[in-house]
């Protein structure tokens, strides 16, 4: 009898299905996984330590770069933690804008997840469809902040500026003539809110398209049904949050259970799975598309009818308008102090969490009363999810590892920080 030995295989870090820089050391018995040991940290940038050396406002940009597919949600947790310690009440319009952009971000994130997860397990078309819709959403990001990805739009005390009245338009070029450009600009004639409204009109039909391609697809179901089952008890014990926890049958959503901003005024439902496998996680996220769309529509309606400030007036925290700086001595002093020193946050510790598209994204802030955080800890949902990789993939085939990585919805920016 020849000796039978387990086979150890290296997966990644440069593998297209590793979603970034995941290195997995897999111990295989034939084609069955005995042990999966993820090696992370290849994208570690010490964000938390960098934040300790900068005034509070200068770290907002770092938050975008954590989970770089759901930028504004990261910012949201960070500014919430600061506002909690400063005791700032954000104007209502800013709260609606934040909620609207959180949900736009959720759609952005889930679109990328669906596209790449589909691509990983053999559905090429999904990738192209999803990126088509992402384009519109990133234009919305750009219209409001000037950047398509790393927005730095949320600030302690509100949002950086109000929504623009005019949507940017395409111009003719050697690739697109006037006629093509007119067609592309059709839904860009009005304000940003009109453009978002137009998107929400179209989007449910697109979700139906995705479902036509995947939900009853035999290949899709063979790759996802009964793969990576997590029981509700295990899901809680493993620290799962967000869609990962809900797919295991636990109705837990911070937007409903511990509402922040204006979520308690909005009407939406929480999808919950029953089985806790890859397919249920897919169904939960698909339903979240529709629910987010509902929330965005309610926010647009409110924002159309209600105007007002989007930032608090307290110039100890928020810089005054640039024009007033030119003729008002007080404003000039405030401006100078805020940009050379920043604001001091009262001594103490606070934890603020948001329902991030991936789960609970939390910021634990320790302040000693200085103008910089004393310690900033980022609680990334993907970190807890990936640590369950070993348990989820144990006993599955090698090809299922890719399906499980896909369903975890991991992004290395937040896991490695």
């Amino acid at each position: 009898m020849p000796e039978i030995r387990n086979y150890t295989m290296n997966f990644g870090p440069q593998h297209p299905a590793a979603h970034g820089v995941l290195r997995l050391v897999l111990e295989l018995d034939g084609e069955v996984i005995q042990r999966a040991d993820p090696h992370i940290g290849l994208l570690h940038r010490a964000t938390e330590k960098l934040a300790e050396s900068k005034p509070y406002n200068q770290s907002i940009g770092y938050m975008d770069r954590l989970d770089y597919v759901s930028m504004m949600s990261n910012e949201h947790a960070y500014v919430l933690a600061i506002e909690k310690m400063l005791g700032v009440e954000v104007p209502l319009r800013a709260q609606y804008i934040r909620v609207m952009f959180d949900e736009i971000t959720r759609i952005l994130n889930h679109l990328l997840w669906l596209g790449t997860h589909g691509l990983d397990i053999g559905a090429m078309t999904m990738f192209l469809y999803c990126f088509r819709e992402r384009e519109d959403l990133m234009d919305i990001y750009e219209a409001v902040s000037g950047a398509r990805l790393h927005a730095t739009y949320y600030r302690p005390g509100g949002v950086y500026r109000d929504l623009p009245d005019r949507m940017s338009q395409y111009e003719p070029s050697k690739w697109h003539d006037q006629k093509a450009v007119d067609r592309m600009n059709e839904n860009r004639q009005g304000s940003l809110l009109d453009f978002i409204w137009d998107f929400t009109e179209r989007f449910p039909a697109h979700v139906d398209e995705y479902e036509t391609l995947l939900t009853d697809n035999r290949i899709w179901k063979q790759r996802t049904v009964d793969i990576g089952i997590v029981s509700p008890e295990r899901a809680r014990n493993l620290g799962f949050t967000g869609p990962m926890l809900r797919a295991s049958g636990i109705e837990w959503d911070l937007r409903k259970k511990q509402p922040y901003e204006v979520y308690d005024r909005l009407d939406f439902d929480i999808p919950v799975g029953t089985h806790g496998d890859n397919y249920d996680r897919y169904l939960v996220r698909i339903e979240e598309f529709r629910q987010s769309n509902r929330i965005i529509r309610q926010c647009v309606e409110w924002l159309r009818n209600n105007h007002g400030a989007v930032m608090v007036e307290d110039h100890k925290i928020v810089p005054p308008k640039r024009e007033s700086m030119k003729h008002d001595m007080e404003a000039l002093i405030h401006h100078f102090k805020l940009f050379t020193e920043g604001f001091c946050v009262p001594q103490g510790q606070a934890y603020a969490a948001v329902e991030h598209p991936k789960g609970e994204f939390g910021i634990y802030l320790v302040s000693d009363g200085a103008n910089k955080p004393y310690r900033l800890k980022i609680r990334a949902p993907g970190f807890a999810h990936l640590s369950a990789m070993d348990e989820m993939s144990n006993g599955h085939m090698l090809a299922d590892v890719v399906a499980i990585i896909g369903t975890l919805d991991i992004v290395f920016g937040e896991i490695d920080r």
């Binding site: 330590k49 809680r236 493993l238 620290g239 934890y351 000693d368």
Partner: protein, 201 residues
């Protein structure tokens, strides 16, 4: 009952159950923190998970804090042990949060692992070990997690410079990647200041 009253009720219940294990409790910014002695952590955590009135079924986060320079700019000195390990607990069934903090001495930075109570502690404890050098007794696989293979030191300690000790580059002559002492000078763009309350008002 509003949030604060619920937290006060929880505070009393924990004080009844844990008794002498508690050093102090505090409600701040609508959050409850309990400071435990390091030898009682494991027992209390088990009660927090299984106790009917607690049911803290999810360990949201574990992290370490280095208090070495805490309020240094205000001219104050930190009189408690240098490190703290902070646990954020969540009860999904009772919809409540709790923060547990344990102080550990610099000379023996050891606490009991809670991995047998909450599996999610696994990587969080590895991270605290990697970045702060806190040792978790009973952890089955306490390896570095975020830093490079063969990294020396614990980078998130306050006495570890932001720019690090070594830098990496490709050596043309040797034909491989080498480590060498850092060539960049640390610089402070905005100094750290602590202003008194109501400064400039």
């Amino acid at each position: 009952m509003n949030n604060i009253e619920r937290l006060q009720a929880l505070q009393t219940r924990i004080t009844e159950v844990a008794g002498s294990a508690i050093q102090s409790t505090e409600i701040e910014f609508g959050e409850l923190t309990i400071d435990l002695t390091d030898d009682s952590l494991h027992d209390v955590c088990r009660k927090l998970l299984s106790g009917e009135n607690f049911a803290f079924d999810t360990l949201i986060d574990v992290c370490a804090v280095d208090y070495l320079h805490y309020r240094q700019e205000a001219g104050e000195k930190w009189d408690k042990p240098r490190f703290a390990v902070v646990y954020h607990l969540l009860s999904t069934s009772r919809n409540q949060r709790l923060r547990v903090r344990v102080f550990v001495e610099e000379s023996s930075p050891v606490v009991d692992s809670v991995i047998d109570i909450w599996s999610s502690a696994n990587w969080f404890e590895r991270e605290a070990f990697d970045l702060f050098g806190i040792l978790f007794k009973g952890h089955p696989d306490l390896r570095r997690i975020l830093t490079d293979y063969g990294f020396v030191g614990h980078p998130f300690r306050k006495d570890f410079p932001l720019s690090g000790h070594v830098e990496m580059c490709y050596d043309e002559e040797k034909g491989r990647v080498i480590y060498q002492p850092v060539s960049i000078e640390p610089r402070v763009l905005v100094p750290r200041v602590i202003r008194e309350e109501g400064y400039g008002a």
